[in-house]
Structure formats: C-alpha cells, structure tokens
C-alpha cells in the first residue's frame, strides 16, 4: 500500500535520525538536508538507500542531486512508489 505524505516524512525523519542523529521533530518539509540537517553528500547516499528499502522506490544516483529538501524527497517518493 502506498505511503501518504505524512508517513513518508515521518519515515524520513526516522532515517535521518538513525544516520545523522538529528531529532525527528527537526525533519520537516522545507528543511534542506545539507544546510539544515547536517546530512552531507555521503550521508545523503545512506539516507537514499534506506528510503529505497523502506518505501520500495528506486532513486538513481542522477536523481539524488535534485533532492535538496525533505519536501523534494517526499514528492519524489510519492510520485515513484509502486
């Protein structure tokens, strides 16, 4: 069953918390992974890999660059989840 926007954000929050140690409540749609959440380019790869597993989507390397904010990632997953 496809996840809702709310479920995706809270899922991403758990992933970011696990990988970068950021409190889950700080992970909100408008937050930038690198500038606000201390997720650098390599942690972002780990976030993406975890999100792929959790939401059953494929996020190719070339698309990762475009996912600047939590909102970008949420929209991407909403659109591509099967």
């Amino acid at each position: 069953m496809a996840a809702t926007q709310e479920e995706i954000v809270s899922g991403l929050a758990e992933i970011v918390n696990e990988i970068a140690g950021i409190p889950t409540e700080d992970v909100q749609l408008e937050k930038s992974f690198t500038d606000d959440l201390d997720v650098d380019s390599l942690s972002m790869v780990e976030v993406v890999v975890a999100a792929e597993e959790r939401f059953g989507v494929k996020i190719p390397d070339d698309d990762v660059k475009n996912l600047k904010t939590v909102g970008d990632a949420t929209d991407y997953i909403l659109k591509h989840q099967s």
């Binding site: 650098d40 380019s41 390599l42 790869v45 780990e46 993406v48 890999v49 390397d61 990762v64």
Partner: protein, 344 residues
C-alpha cells in the same frame, strides 16, 4: 585407456601463518594534497577519515616494498623462504607487465622454483589471492603460499582530480598461507559485477600511447601528455560499497557459521572511513569487535590495505594471534571477496 591418476596430497585445511607489511618512509599530510585541488583538511577528514598517507620515493618500488613485506611475513610464519611453493602478487601499479613481478620476488627472496604469477583484482586482490592460496594448500600443489598486495597508487593518481587526489596511498602487505589441522580460512564469498566496470578505471589504456594515437591523449597544464590515472564515480562506488558489500560481509559470516558475537576483529578494505563506519552499523557489530581504521594514516592502498591493517592491529596489540577476523575487499571491476580467517 583412461589410467588412474594419483592426485596430490594436500592438507586438510589452510590458515594464515604470518603477516608482514611495508609502508613508505614519506608521510604526506592533507596540506600537501591541497596544493593541487580546491579542498580543505576538514573536508577530506570528514568525507574519508584520511589525515595522512605514505607515498613511495624512487627507491621504494613495487618490488622493493614487496620484498620487505614478504620477508617479514616469512619470518612471522616461522618458515624459510625456500619452503614457499607459490608466490601470488596482486598489483595494478607495477608498470612492466611481462614478466610477472612475482618471478622476480620468488627469485630474490630465495623461493627458487616456486610457481609465481601476478593477479589483478583491484582492491579485492588480497581476498582473491587468499582464496587461491587456500585452494593450493588444501589441494596439495604448494605447502606454503606467499600472497602479497603491493601498490604505488601515487603513480596512478591525478593530483588535480578532486575525487581521488586525497584518497590513495602506497605500500605492501603480505601473508604466508600454509597447512593447518583446523579450518583457518572460511568459505570465500567472491565475485564480480562487470556491468559496473567503468565506475573505477584507468583513464587511458596503455595502447593509447602508441605513436599515432598520442595526439588524442589529454594534456596536463604544462602541455605534456598526462600519465594514466585511476578515476572513479565516487558516489556510485560509495553507494555500492555501503549497500552491497555489507550483504557480502554478512554472507561470509553466515557461510563460516560465525555470528557477530563470535567475531573479534573486522578488517574491511581501507577505502574510506565512512564506508567502514556504515558497514559496522549495518552488520550490527558488537562493541567488543576491534575495527581496523588504518585508512586514517595509510589512505587507500588497494590490495595492500587488508594485510597492512592486519599487521598493524597485531603489532599494536589491538588484535591477537588466534583471533577470529572478518576480512572484505572490494574495488575496480567491480570485484569483491570476503571471508572469515583466524589471525596468525
């Protein structure tokens, strides 16, 4: 008539009996790398964990470094060089392909008449060599096998490439594999993913230097033809390493019947501290497991990295003879090899 052929008499099992390493004398700090790329010490440390690496001088050739490491491994194993029946050298940075450098090593170390050959399995070279050595000892084609990973990656480094200039180092690491009454080397989980062969590769093939083709070669700032270098798609490699290699490491544990609790030491290929940290997390290695973090002061020495890290852990008392260690190498090919070993 199909006559009955008598097979060789091997040993029931094989194990690593001794280890030795050689690190070049010159230590290169990040500051020196920054002369050629727009970067910072802080960036390099946070993205790779590397603070310093060793780069070889003119005398520290692949052959000289190999001989130093091999001599120590032979002594550590408590054997003499003439008992070595096969010499396997894994290197991508010895620039005279024929004859194999292994023949020079066998001759100069005193392993005369030993079977001697080179292999190219990039950063998985140590695990590939170990797998071959185990097979030779158990099957009976050699009593003792020398396996060496030896690299001068500084020769294959483009100092102006931001993705690799800080990454690579030089050195040689060697082990002696020999007979054992107990299994000392577990099943190898090894393989290749050749569909990713372009992800890490040499920039220009050697035949690109043929007269006539030279005009097509890239030029450096001073107008001279650039020597080949290793280039990589860093993020793709990183993703593959943290995601796929953790699975391979887990398979090696499972195949050997070892749980993370049973493990004393984890020696992954020293490619990047961030890859190491991620694997430790994914594999859920308990606190008591000693993790090799040699990359900080050695950089990525490809096939040499695992035996170099192994030697240092043993020399500094962080690991002990008889400890159970998981080793995993991965790199250009892409290729990988993981297994559980008893430390010498």
């Amino acid at each position: 008539m199909t006559a009955k052929i008598k097979p060789a008499q091997g040993s029931p099992y094989a194990r690593i009996l001794g280890v030795g390493g050689y690190r070049p004398t010159r230590v290169v700090p990040n500051e020196e790398i920054l002369k050629h790329i727009d970067s910072s010490d802080e960036w390099i440390r946070s993205r790779s964990g590397i603070a310093t690496r060793h780069w070889a001088n003119d005398e520290e050739t692949v052959a000289e470094m190999t001989l130093e490491a091999a001599g120590k491994a032979v002594a550590d194993a408590g054997i003499t060089a003439d008992q070595v029946g096969a010499v396997i050298i894994s290197t991508v940075s010895h620039f005279k392909q024929t004859p194999a450098i292994a023949t020079e090593i066998a001759d100069r170390m005193g392993a005369r008449k030993a079977a001697a050959f080179d292999i190219n399995a990039g950063c998985a070279g140590f695990g590939y060599g170990l797998t071959l050595a185990k097979g030779l000892v158990v099957e009976g084609s050699a009593d003792y096998v020398l396996v060496v990973g030896a690299e001068r990656l500084s020769d294959l480094t483009d100092l102006t490439d931001r993705s690799t200039a800080f990454l690579f180092g030089d050195g040689a690491g060697a082990v002696i594999v020999g007979p054992s009454d107990e299994p000392g080397i577990g099943p190898s989980i090894w393989g290749s993913e050749g569909d990713k062969r372009d992800v890490i590769s040499q920039t220009i093939p050697w035949d690109g230097f043929r007269v006539g083709d030279v005009a097509q070669l890239p030029l450096g700032e001073d107008g001279s033809v650039k020597f080949p270098a290793l280039r990589q798609e860093g993020q793709t490699v990183f993703r593959w390493a943290v995601f796929e290699m953790a699975k391979v490491a887990q398979q090696a544990l499972d195949a050997a019947g070892i749980t993370p609790e049973d493990l004393d030491v984890f020696i992954p290929h020293q490619a990047n501290m961030r890859i190491i940290d991620s694997m430790v997390k994914t594999l859920k290695l308990p606190e008591h497991v000693t993790v090799a973090r040699d990359v900080e002061t050695t950089g990525n020495t490809s096939a040499a990295s695992i035996p170099l890290a192994m030697e240092r852990l043993l020399a500094t008392g962080k690991a002990r003879s008889g400890d159970t260690a998981l080793v995993i190498g991965f790199g250009a090919g892409l290729v990988y090899a993981a297994t559980v070993v008893t430390l010498p």
